[in-house]
Amino acid sequence: MAKIKTEVVIVGAGAAGAILAAELCKVGMKVVALERGPKLKTIDFNPHDELRFFQRQDTRPDPKKSVVTWRFNTNMKSQPLNSMSYGNQVGGGTVHYGALSWRNHEDDFRVRSATVERYGETFLPEGSDVTDWPISYADLEPFYDKAEYDLGVSGRAGNINGQKIAGGNVFEAPRKREYPMPPLRTDVASDTFDKATKNLGLHPFISPRAILSEPYKDRPGCTYCGFCQTFGCHVGAKSSTLVNKIPEAEETKNFTVITGAMCHRVNTDSAGKATGVSFYGPDGSDNQVEADLVILAPFVYDNVRLLMLSKTSLHQNGLSNSSGLLGKGLMTHIRPSVFVAFDDKKMNIYMGPNAQRHSIDDYNADNFNHKDLGFIRGGQISIGTAGQQGGPMGAAINMVPPPGIPRYGAAYRDWYAKYFASHMSIGLQIEDLPYRNQTIDLDPDVRDAWGLPAPRITYDWRRPNELKSVAFLTKKIEEIGKAMNAKYVWMGDRAQPGAPGGHHTGGTRMGTRPDNSVVNKYCQSWDISNLFVVGSSTFPTMSGYNSTLTIEAQAYFVADAIIKRYRQAPGPLV
């Protein structure tokens, strides 16, 4: 059993963990980061291998080892999920993600107030727990800016200081300046989507992504090889924290990352302060890191689970749970899709970064009038592939053929041979509201490979608000499909009731008071001031957008508060 002493220990070296590590190390703080997975190199991603990286999920946790279970409701027995969509290596999910980099809308930070102001108190969906964030867009804007410039994001602004710019996202919150790099290339698929949505009076734009459109900070631009989402980048053009913040942290000599380290407990003393963490090594050893400051930054599941596992007589319901809200308000995007396939042109959608390449924001957030619709919030709509990434294996697995075409045999072969290279998928990711009975807790019956109780998700998106929202928005993506003059336009099968999708948020909600949240706006535990919990688990509401850039901006925001205030006077920041 090893015992390590340091100033700061960070659990999870992903989007948030790597940024915090680099920022704190640069001012001279000594940081040890624990990472469950390995540390890979850019050369590890050279073989473009759809079987290994997409289908066998090499950069993601093994669901048989890192077991997570799910059930619809408390009356049902849980069952293990068979795939994971978050990361399992240094760099976390930013290694294999599609690199979508959104700034939340202004109203994404104040869902409750914005809804009440526009539609009245009675419009708030019954049973939901929508609330405002304790921080505003204006608070986070400088840190969004920092994330875009520091990490490397390509895009076209749609709103600079209130000035709307055609070709950018005219619904975006005002930014202070343009993106650091021009947008990535468009292709036939994005051009087709652009034209069809314009014809419908909508406002298409090329999606901002943390992928270099040109050389930036000693990294090369994207080669458009197409092995992007679910893959690590073979030239390092994807702005993963593995290739930007981790090297930066290492350069300071103040940083140590321990891989293969499964953190299983946050240790606290008799006064209730955090003293460090315990972790299992790859050899099964039980080790300790003693630290003045503990920062939890793993995926949503382990933020919640670690706090629950670390209960003591002083913290009987788990750490940082005096509010009783730990594990509550889990949200995930609901993601139906419509497929289209063409006779007269090839989409060749396996070329270029695959995910959500071109978007509309007209039906996201509160960008449209919900007055007569009976639901709040919306979803992000974009064009992409049927299989997360562009290869023929992913599309064959994920794309049900249109009605009338069988799923196997000669007719299927002929259909797939003809339409693989001319298909695309109109994707929808719908904002899920927070509900107190949509939760993560410890599964009493199932343990993971380390012998720890599996995180158990209780989740069923079929609430009145979500059912109406899914029905309305699905019609919109069908309309867009029909406006493309395609040979086939048909529903994918993803809006089925079932297990939670990707992009998990909530569970350690941030808030304005100790009784309405787990952490304060600096992601600092209300109960234990030397314990910070960062990442999307702190989001009180989720937005229709992918959450990574907001997680990253939050990490800079928290680092700033630790460096400028906490370090001088450790104690509650609020």
Partner: protein
């Protein structure tokens, strides 16, 4: 379990297991209508005398896996070929060596699925014997398709765990994997799967012109991992 017997319609008596296996591996079933797979196998190896004695593996169907027995291997070949049949100019599962991919995976990455396959194959045999008094590989193409349809609808009797539907879905999934994974995994022989759908493999880049063409991408070569690794080694 009943002894598998060759089809009574077969002209050639006493097909031995190995020659059936090899014959069946040669892709002859794609040319048959009402002909049985066994007929096709016979004709096929008659026209390929070098395989008549079944003493050597076909060069066109390399077998690298180490899990499936010869009967099961032949069954997988026949089954996956019905899932993704080959035709002239349209490579199918057999052309792509999908069964080899599956056998290799079951010997390595998917060892945890061996029991699933054992049970599934045993139930498939039970089902075919009960329904047709023959093994799957000796059924006519129409009968084989009827078995697939019954499994797809989870109506095929004889299955418990895995269910008929679960076994069908697993075979469909692994057929897709074997067709479209890089050839280093034992399937997608000569890029058969990629050629079928017009996928150029692991290209290191695409140009703006490529991305805007709207036409089939035809620039040679199709690139697999072995070439790409070789290129890296040369610097």
């Amino acid at each position: 379990m009943k002894e598998k017997t060759p089809s009574p319609t077969t002209e050639t008596p006493a097909l031995d297991r190995r020659s059936l296996l090899i014959g069946s591996a040669l892709g002859a079933a794609t040319s048959v209508g009402a002909m049985t797979t066994a007929d096709a196998a016979t004709k096929s190896h008659a026209s390929h005398p070098q395989h008549a004695h079944g003493t050597s593996q076909s060069h066109t169907h390399q077998r690298q896996g180490a899990f499936l027995n010869d009967d099961d291997y032949a069954t997988i070949i026949a089954f996956t070929e019905r899932l993704m049949p080959g035709a002239s100019g349209k490579p199918g599962a057999k052309d792509a060596n999908v069964a080899n991919y599956i056998d290799l995976a079951l010997s390595g990455a998917y060892t945890d699925q061996q029991y699933f396959y054992r049970q599934g194959l045993e139930a498939l045999e039970k089902h075919c014997q009960a329904q047709y008094k023959k093994s799957f590989m000796f059924l006519t193409v129409a009968q084989q398709d009827a078995v697939l349809a019954a499994m797809d609808e989870n109506k095929a009797a004889g299955f418990t765990w895995p269910t008929a539907k679960a076994f069908f879905e697993k075979l469909r999934l692994h057929t897709i994997e074997g067709l479209f994974s890089d050839p280093v995994y034992g399937g997608n022989k000569d890029f058969a799967g990629w050629k079928l759908v017009g996928f150029p493999g692991a290209q290191p880049f695409f140009t703006e012109e490529d991305m805007k063409s709207g036409k089939p991408f035809t620039r040679e070569p199709i690139i697999g991992m072995q070439q790409s690794q070789a290129r890296t080694r040369k610097g």
